[in-house]
């Protein structure tokens, strides 16, 4: 699907790439149905709350240094500004830099929903510009402004001529998509359409899309071996850095869900190759990814040398720890950019995946292919029960109760605690680099081992708490509330 940078609106993942949030079956069935085009997502007649796409979109944009995000809506929509302020401060401090990004709301009230408030919005934008002199301004909508038809595009167009910084309308009504990852696409679209400039020269840089750049120092070091320089996006990025990402040799991403819109956009628009391999998690992932970077940036020789050196250090240690993990049974629930990648790593470590939940599923990536992580698993004869649920906790708990796995792995705040209450040890795979490369694969294996070695915390807690679900629910099939499946 071509990316249209002339419009400020981005199609949802559902409409653009046929993404779904409701499915229960197996990995192989999911892949087969995707390929022959028979896969249809189900809706639920009962659901629990999940995540707002604006949080993903504006979380990304507000991490860029010295910009302004103006969230036009009631104060609940812009409440994420408090978390963004904190994150910006601590993430900048970690690198001994400063980040003066501001994220403000407009505290829309009832009157505004009736009469509109584009005049006030215009004034607010000018005032923010005067106060902070941001390097770019993102003006964003909310459910309320979206429904009343507030024309933020016109407000932005009118002001554009008066300002000498990039300013762009960002459409992130929460009701647009059940898939919060659509928010990542929205932020990429805003960056591509307002900040990125056409390339002037070619640089030896690689765009590296990630969340919180915890592995930044070691990746910089590693890339030096290949005479490459990573540019981490968007946390702590400067607007100037972003202007030049079209000049990089390639784009890669720690999470396919996070990065595919930007990767495809830069490739389509400026010919920057997007690395579409499985992700650099685990051994196979890391090596496949590195080799592709080698191919694209013409550094294969240096990369093969690096692989040989690192294998010698880490593989014996990983083999050692695998002996202790063998035979463990795991359930995992993550965004699709991680579920099928982490499943592969668990398989590498000898841990059996009993059930994998993906918070959504993209039938096709932007280039039309089935996600590479799934393809890899099926080519290697790995299959397991799988479902797609937008963080429906009651479904997770039903599965954990039925399968009683040795381990639950999840990546979203507030999800692992429920496994623990069930008495199941849980590993919170929060840091996107937690399984990156050989070194972190070893650490990941170690943290799994440590988690199951001492089960005191979860046993103590589980013994004393009552779970919030009824016995009736635990006796039902997981797909009880899925609508189309039941016909």
């Amino acid at each position: 699907v071509a990316i249209n940078l002339d419009s400020s609106n981005v199609g949802t993942r559902e409409n653009r790439i046929g993404s779904i949030t409701g499915y229960i079956g197996s990995l192989s069935d999911l892949a087969n149905q995707s390929e022959c085009g028979t896969l249809k997502g189900c809706s639920r007649c009962f659901s629990q709350s999940s995540t707002c796409l604006s949080q993903c979109a504006l979380g990304q944009l507000s991490a860029i240094r010295d910009v302004a995000v103006i969230h036009h809506g009631p104060s609940g929509c812009s409440v994420a500004s408090a978390g963004a302020y904190y994150l910006d401060k601590v993430m900048a401090k970690k690198r001994s830099i400063t980040n003066n990004t501001v994220y403000v709301g407009t505290d829309m009230n009832e009157e505004d929903t009736i009469f509109g408030s584009s005049d006030s919005l215009g004034k607010i934008i000018k005032e923010v510009n005067k106060r902070y002199k941001p390097k770019a301004i993102f003006v964003t909508s909310s459910c309320a402004t979206g429904i009343i038809g507030e024309d933020i595009d016109s407000v932005v167009d009118d002001i554009k001529v008066e300002l000498d910084v990039p300013i762009v309308a960002v459409h992130c009504e929460g009701f647009k998509s059940r898939i919060w990852a659509t928010g990542f696409d929205i932020s990429d679209h805003a960056v591509l359409s307002s900040i990125v400039k056409p390339p002037k020269i070619k640089r030896n840089t690689v765009n590296f899309k990630n969340f919180y750049e915890s592995a930044r120092p070691e990746i910089i070091e590693m890339f030096k071996n290949f005479d490459l320089e990573p540019i981490f996006l968007y946390c702590n990025s400067t607007v100037e850095e972003l202007e030049h990402i079209s000049e990089s040799l390639a784009t890669t991403c720690i999470c396919g869900t996070l990065g595919n819109y930007l990767g495809n956009g830069l490739e389509e628009k400026y010919g920057v190759p997007y690395i579409r391999t499985i992700n650099p998690l685990g051994i196979a992932g890391f090596e496949t990814w590195l080799r592709e970077i080698g191919k694209v940036t013409d550094t294969t020789e240096a990369i093969e040398k690096y692989i040989v050196e690192q294998r010698a250090i880490y593989l014996p240690q990983i083999d050692e720890i695998k002996k202790e993990l063998k035979g463990l049974k795991a359930v995992l629930g993550m965004g699709p950019g991680y579920t099928f990648e982490v499943s592969r790593v668990l398989d590498e470590l000898g841990i059996e995946v009993a059930w994998a939940l993906a918070w959504h599923y993209d039938k096709k990536y932007e280039n039309g292919d089935v996600p590479p992580a799934m393809e890899y698993l099926l080519e290697h004869d790995v299959d397991f029960e799988a479902s797609v649920a937008d963080q429906q906790n009651y479904e997770v708990m039903n599965i954990l109760n039925k399968y009683q796995p040795d381990l639950y792995l999840s990546r979203h705040p507030g999800s692992t605690v429920w496994a623990i209450k069930n008495g199941t040890p849980a590993v919170y795979v929060a840091d996107e680099y937690m399984i990156f490369g050989y070194k972190h694969t070893l650490e990941f294996a170690q943290s799994i081992l440590d988690s199951i070695r001492n089960r005191s915390f979860e046993k103590n807690l589980a013994k004393r708490v009552k779970l919030p679900y009824t016995n009736w629910w635990y006796e039902q099939n997981v797909d009880n509330f899925l609508e189309e499946v039941k016909g």
Binding site: C45, F46, S47, Q48, S49, S50, T51, C52, L53, S54, H72, G73, P74, S75, G76, C77, S78, V79, S81, A82, Y85, Y86, K89, V104, G105, T106, D107, M108, N109, E110, D112, T113, S117, S120, L121, I124, V128, S142, C143, A144, I147, G174, F175, K176, S177, R178, W180, D390, Q391, Y394, P413, G414, S415, W418, V465, P468, Y469, T470, W472, W473
Partner: protein, 432 residues
């Protein structure tokens, strides 16, 4: 009218879900977009029996915006009964159904005969902030659930205080208020926190009176209960922190409850003796800490701005610089609150600014001469600012990133001591 909300310190009315969450075994059922709960929840102290990802939600999508979401709301409530083990279900509506005109009341009425009560509150984000949302939930309970009682239980007093979760110390504070009333021989009844739930709600109509400890939040709730349930109320506007205010509080409650003055004075005497035993032992530290100016500012909701100002002035002898009330206090309450700030020992008056624009607040703090290293008690936004001024900073109001509180509190005699501990734990880290 829309306004610039720079460094925002409150959430929207839908934040009322945290008020519901604070009632044991009560669950909010959300008729809203899929992500309101996660956005509006705090990540601290939020994995109790119910947490935001347990809250049933209609997760409104584009289709529902066009065709309405009443059918989905019906199936969500119906299945909530089957899946979630709760005592009370409170449907909260967000922006979308309110704008497109879903008749939530009609859907909820269909469940009038259910085994468990289902109530609803219209908490669209544009109706106000979460302080207002908190009031909307209590009003919903009064309007739709409570009935006037002919029987009154002698000495039973309902206590109402500020907003759970928005107030970092809500749990500890309300427990300490209960304790103070017990000292007086009264029987406190509260609906929030550990083992306080539907049975406490059921007891509300039997109380002799309502005690509201807040500058303005829930005044409307008290009036409604007075009218519908015939329960009189005592409005005590200052959160009592430390000996001076707590003793005053006990006297006033004692008088209202008709408790013998001697008895109240005896209790006060005993409490103050221990309080001043502690203060005496640490008075040298207060006097001789070389790094703290006498002047301070609080940046918080009306409750803490007022309560802490009174404590620092009347107990510790500090001098108020400007104080900032950031909860968007409704205009009709401002004058009355301002008067409280002007009613301090030795005729001292604290200038107070009702301001929601953090940029302006920061400029005023920067421009003020504190005659030394200032003490700033505020939200996380004030951390960096205070650092730049070489001041002392304590995170006491939302947003909170600098402090973890499980059941600590600032209310009462003990609460005053806790606040002193927190302030001086910061101050002693420096010499000069």
């Amino acid at each position: 009218m829309a306004k610039l909300l720079d460094k925002q310190r409150y959430k929207c009315a839908m934040g009322a879900m945290q008020t519901v969450q604070a009632i044991d075994r009560a669950i909010p059922v959300l008729h809203s977009g899929p992500g309101c709960a996660q956005k509006l929840s705090n990540s601290i102290g939020s994995s109790g029996y119910f947490s935001p990802n347990i809250f049933p939600c209609t997760s409104i999508n584009e289709k529902d915006v066009v065709f309405g979401g009443m059918k989905k709301l019906h199936s969500t409530i119906e299945n909530s009964f089957k899946v979630i083990d709760a005592d009370l279900y409170i449907v909260l509506t967000g922006c979308i159904p309110e704008i497109v005109g879903d008749d939530t009341e009609e859907v909820v009425t269909e469940f009038a005969d259910s085994e468990k009560p289902v109530l609803f509150a219209s908490t669209a984000g544009f109706k106000g902030n979460n302080y207002i949302g908190h009031e909307l939930v209590i009003d919903a309970i009064t309007d739709q659930y409570l009935e006037k009682s002919e029987n009154r239980e002698k000495g039973l007093v309902n206590i109402w205080a500020d907003v759970p979760y928005q107030d970092l110390f809500w749990l500890g504070n309300i427990r300490e208020l209960e304790k103070l009333l017990k000292e007086l021989g009264l029987t406190p009844n509260t609906i929030f926190g550990y083992q306080r739930g539907i049975h406490n709600i059921n007891k509300i109509p039997k109380a002799e009176f309502n005690l509201l400890v807040s500058p303005w939040v829930s005044v409307g709730n008290m009036k409604k209960m007075e009218k519908k349930l015939g329960i009189p109320y005592l409005h005590y506007p200052t959160l009592p922190i430390g000996a001076f205010e707590t003793s005053k509080f006990l006297r006033e409650v004692g008088r209202f409850a008709g408790i013998e003055e001697n008895k109240v004075e005896a209790i006060i005497n005993e409490q103050e003796k221990y309080y001043y035993y502690l203060i005496e032992r640490y008075a040298d530290m207060f006097l001789e800490t070389r790094v703290m100016a006498k002047q301070f500012s609080v940046v918080a909701d009306a409750q803490y701005a007022l309560g802490i100002t009174k404590f620092l002035v009347n107990d510790l002898g500090l001098v108020p610089a400007k104080q900032f009330v950031v909860d968007d206090t409704p205009k009709q309450f401002r004058e009355q609150i301002r008067k409280e700030f002007e009613n301090l020992n030795y005729g001292l008056k604290a200038e107070v600014s009702f301001e929601t624009d953090g940029y302006k607040i920061h400029n005023e703090i920067k421009e003020h001469d504190y005659h030394g290293y200032p003490l700033i008690l505020g939200s996380y936004y004030e951390k960096e600012l205070t650092d730049e001024m070489f001041g002392h900073y304590l995170n006491i109001s939302w947003p909170v990133q600098d402090k973890v509180v499980l059941d600590d509190f600032y209310v009462g005699y003990t609460g005053g001591i806790r606040l002193i501990e927190d302030i001086y734990s910061v101050a002693v880290q420096r010499w000069n």
